[in-house]
């Protein structure tokens, strides 16, 4: 009786302490994350422009967007960009993880070196590639010419198809190391006698890959792909810095469309409606990731495990 009561007061005091320890984070996030998001959702139903009070205009912004060709094209470009980039990063990430998991001299050094692209500030990586793609003095044209593959400089960022390839290359180059290292951490936990006994049973390399390797890295690869999808859909700066959405809006993804709407046309309400339209997809993705990540409450490594 007494013990139970004592236990209850202890739990109560723990709850109170937990509340006070969580309070600063809660106050901060409500002020600078929840409130701004709510403000944004509300103003997507107004004619808000910078420096003027807003009046409600119902669904006008949404109607405008759904009829707007540039917006619909940006949605298509975003979907295509995201799908291509995520598939490539996952496949190449698995390949990289398997390469880094082989035994060879200097392995830990190679692992560290391969991670470098991912550690660069994004802006630095993107501008570096912009310079590689440059038609005047760029490395890509120089290399291709040196090997005799082209005889005239290609304007990589000036045609729709090649500009699209460029934004894909940059994202993949920077993203694959993250996939590789994450998947590698899982590969290392597969006991090697599993492979040995499979070989003795006559399984070839392809069978071993599909029956041992793939099942054990499936979850972590999926989680990396989902998390990466969230960031790719919202990738603004790579594309803005590399192509500015050009040529002729052909690489303008949704974030670039929303940026030019808000910061150049100053149509805040309309740009907010763009974010609100993307939200359901994001919330779905975020919920799946949150669920997958919290599945194992005693997660030893944390997040992506």
């Amino acid at each position: 009786m007494r013990a139970a009561k004592k236990r209850r007061t202890m739990l109560q005091s723990e709850s109170r302490l937990a509340f006070f320890l969580l309070l600063p984070v809660m106050v901060y996030l409500v002020a600078l994350l929840v409130y701004p998001l709510g403000w944004g959702a509300y103003h997507s139903f107004t004619d808000k422009v910078i420096g003027a009070p807003a009046t409600l205009n119902g669904l006008a912004n949404y109607k405008f967007l759904l009829k707007n060709q540039a917006f619909m094209t940006s949605v298509k470009t975003t979907v295509l960009y995201t799908v291509v980039v995520i598939v490539l990063k996952t496949v190449l990430g698995v390949a990289l993880a398997m390469i880094l998991n082989m035994s060879f001299r200097g392995r830990s050094l190679v692992r560290a070196l391969v991670l470098i692209p991912w550690t660069l500030p994004n802006l630095v990586a993107v501008l570096n590639w912009k310079w590689i793609f440059a038609n005047q003095g760029g490395a890509l044209n120089g290399l291709l010419r040196a090997f005799g593959l082209i005889d005239k400089n290609v304007l990589w960022l000036s045609t729709a198809a090649s500009a699209f390839v460029c934004i894909v290359v940059v994202n993949v180059w920077r993203g694959v190391p993250f996939f590789g290292i994450t998947i590698l951490s899982k590969l290392q936990t597969i006991p090697s006698d599993l492979y040995e006994s499979a070989s003795i049973d006559g399984a070839n390399a392809v069978q071993r890959f599909f029956h041992i390797t793939l099942p054990s890295i499936k979850d972590i690869a999926l989680l990396s792909a989902l998390v990466s999808t969230i960031w790719t859909i919202n990738d603004f700066e790579s594309i803005w810095l590399l192509t500015g959405g050009g040529p002729n809006g052909k690489t303008a993804v949704v974030t670039v469309f929303s940026y030019t709407t808000a910061m150049q046309s100053l149509q805040i309400g309309r740009a907010l409606a763009v974010s609100v339209l993307v939200m359901p997809v994001l919330i779905l993705l975020i919920s799946v990731v949150t669920k997958l990540s919290s599945k194992d409450e005693t997660r030893s490594g944390g997040g992506t495990e």
Binding site: E14, P24, P36, L113, W131, A134, A139, S275, G301, G303
Partner: protein
Amino acid sequence: MNRRISKRKLISSLLKYLIITGTLLIALFPIYWMMITSFKPINEVYSRVPTFFPQNFTTENYSALFNETTYLQGLMNSLVIALTVSLFTICIAVPAAYAIARLRFRAKTIASRSVLFTYLIPAAVLYIPLFVLMTRVGLTNTRLSLMLIYPTFTVPYATWILIPNLRSIPFELEEAALVDGTSRVGALIRIVVPLSMPGIVTTFIFSFTQCWGEFLYALVNISEKTMRTFPLVINALIWGDLYPWGQIMAGGIIACVPILLIYMFASNLLVGGLTAGGVKQ
């Protein structure tokens, strides 16, 4: 027979090293290119046939960057902002992570899930409302605006990777202190925090690297020259017909130095943290 096996082995190991060399080339060539460009004089940068070894080594890009642009000021602004934000992040994320990791209360699962949820909300969705908010309180063009905004991504992330970290400290150690009459908060400060220092340092470093190269929020909120962070200073060089690629690459190299130093000295700490946190790109 024996010879054939060893020949096969030789070929497969040759293939292996070929693949590894190829991988390294793809990963590192762009960085090599950035490095050599930063040491080339302007006429060599724009020569019709690019040189893959600098012919006339020069540091003029670096001196131009520091003497003719506000790059140094930009580095200082970025440094001050990233350090302040990381410190603030640790101060509020450690107590929160402690509560979720080690205290019993009803809304615990919700608390831990909402932390991850808020972490995954991207800047592309938040930057317009935050820009309007900063305009309204008159903070645009101040370092303070970015110091207030950056914790929107560092705090949830830091809390998320600190939770398993703080949970791994043996409960017995804390209990012993509690039996000796220390308060719960006292035990947090004197037992749990010192024991989880490696994790806290890693989290600090991660917060720092996330703020260091941030571009979108800075682009939107800062236009004043003296308040620019280094990404904005580099971005401002992209102007006109002929970009000063030598200077841009020099700026990139300098900006990478702190990050690469961190990764070199703390790579063991960090690779653990990297896989721990579903890291932002």
